[in-house]
Amino acid sequence: MSAAGTVDTGTLLEVRDLTIDLPGHGGAIRIVDHVDLDVTPGRVLGIAGESGSGKTMTALALLGLLPHGAITGGSARFGDRELLRLSKREWRDVRGDDIAVVFQDPMTALHPMLTVERQLTEHVRRHLGVGRREARERAIDLLRKVQLPDPEGALGNHPHQFSGGMRQRIAIAMALACDPKLLIADEPTTALDVTVQAGILRLLKQLCDDEGLAVIVVTHDLGVMSTVSDELSVFYAGRVVEHGPTAALLRDPRHPYTRGLLDSLPDPTRPDEPLTPIEGAPATPANRPPGCALHPRCAHAVASCAGDVPPLLDIGDGRRLACPPDPLRSAS
């Protein structure tokens, strides 16, 4: 699986057949349907999809943060732990410790009334059981690691005294406080300005390279994916429709949905052409077409697409595709 020549240190998290059902008006609604993911230390896995694709629910399941009433199936092996069977108490030792999270809006992670020092050290002391002075040293190290200017000075400040980009760095520092093995970043740059975005993405990549951290980035933004992720899983209506090394997948997308998503983005080489959106609206979990969920919107659909759900099949070069007609296969 390791495509870019890094040493394969084995899988840290192995998700198999993950399904998530949420209670709905007319019975349970399947939000995530038989999803497989493999997360490796030192690499970034991208989960891409539009709203309602199940990408955020997948991330929440891996954090033990699914909404009340959710029923999960399948397995998520993290070392010798089965994440889907952990109790609330067991989650408290895993979440924030081995598995950390960064959300879209850093203010959801930061308490507006507490100083940065209080927030960082509380976390460190709770999970690592160290004293106040040691925790402060650790907090300064963390802020240095996320390249916050003047870490010592920053400790006494409150979140509102920082810009959005700096707040996100502080939130990342908090996530790193207990040396997690896995960092889940849900739309980490979506709320940030474009001129700041690159800095946060570079930081995530650096943490991955330097510390051997495994990262899952969840975003709808394929531009972000192109720059930060090593492997990419494209979600549509709760399923992975295409997976592969990011560069190969974006250069030569094989699933009509991936192709459609890329075509709907502005093309810098053809500014005068109108944008080419995927027609229709995304399928919602409550209203999922039978067979391939994309088939009502797909220009390449054949009769069999409305029949069985297409399986995600290996197509070589570390790529997997859930589109049996494979209409975009290059002629070669």
Binding site: G223, S226, L275, T276
Partner: protein, 319 residues
Amino acid sequence: MTVLELRDVVVDYPRRHLPTVRAVAGVSLTVGAGEIVGLVGESGCGKSTLGRAAVGLLAPTEGEVWFEGRRLAPLGRAARPAADRRLQMVFQDPTSSLNGRRRVGDQIRDGLALSGAEDTGDRRVGELLERVGLPARAASRFPHEFSGGQRQRVCIARALAASPSVIVADEPISALDASAQAQIANLLTDLARDLGVGLLFISHDLAIVRHVADRVAVMYLGRVAETGPTEDVWARPEHPYSRALIGAVLRADGTGELPEALPGDVPDPASPPPGCRFQTRCPEVFDRCRAEEPPLLRLGSGPSDAAEDRTAACWLHAS
């Protein structure tokens, strides 16, 4: 023909015990009939404040807004003059723009009635829905029955009900999914072309603006940094900030290239730096930038039509 004109608009937000925030510090802008003007900038640059002032939702502290040859009176307690209703706005979040408890057809009918249309019948409502790519029968449904992109179509249909000559659209696509973004961007472009509606398209996303807009104005910290025909600004950005903004656009091409981030952050609009507002982050800063604020300088080269509107507020271009 200019339909909407902003002249040296300044908008202050006074704060108790704190210095006033000058969100817009003197901006002039025109929108012609059927013309799409892109207003680009990052959060806090004042683009949304300017958009609100442009439709009269906010009273400018200084400067004037002219619409269809009359001076636009900011919205007050009294009903807005009927003629001013031809200036419409579309907001970022279609869900909060619509009443969730009323059928979308009734909400569009309100738009017709308020603009003084004679025909407020079902057929007219259906026509408007079809104009924005929804079936006429959608009129009997509620907002929650639609996807985000469809809801934004309803908002646009409601704006069209007033037969607008200008629509100010404030981040109309940024809350939508990628495929819906392209659909709504194309719809707005078509409306401007087919109906001759002027469009002020406010967005942080330069890549989309490039596809949509005829002319573009780049804002930074309450001031316009650069203006020009979109293609010209994209190909030859003359302000270092525009260059940085264009350079920061991520491309989903699989090359994995990560652009350089600009150093530092946008300064606090309550206390902008002396001289040029961009000098704290500018890679090409020199002494004059720290002392004097550059005005919008006309860049005199290029084909005559394009050169008319090509300006940059940067001392690099002082002759």
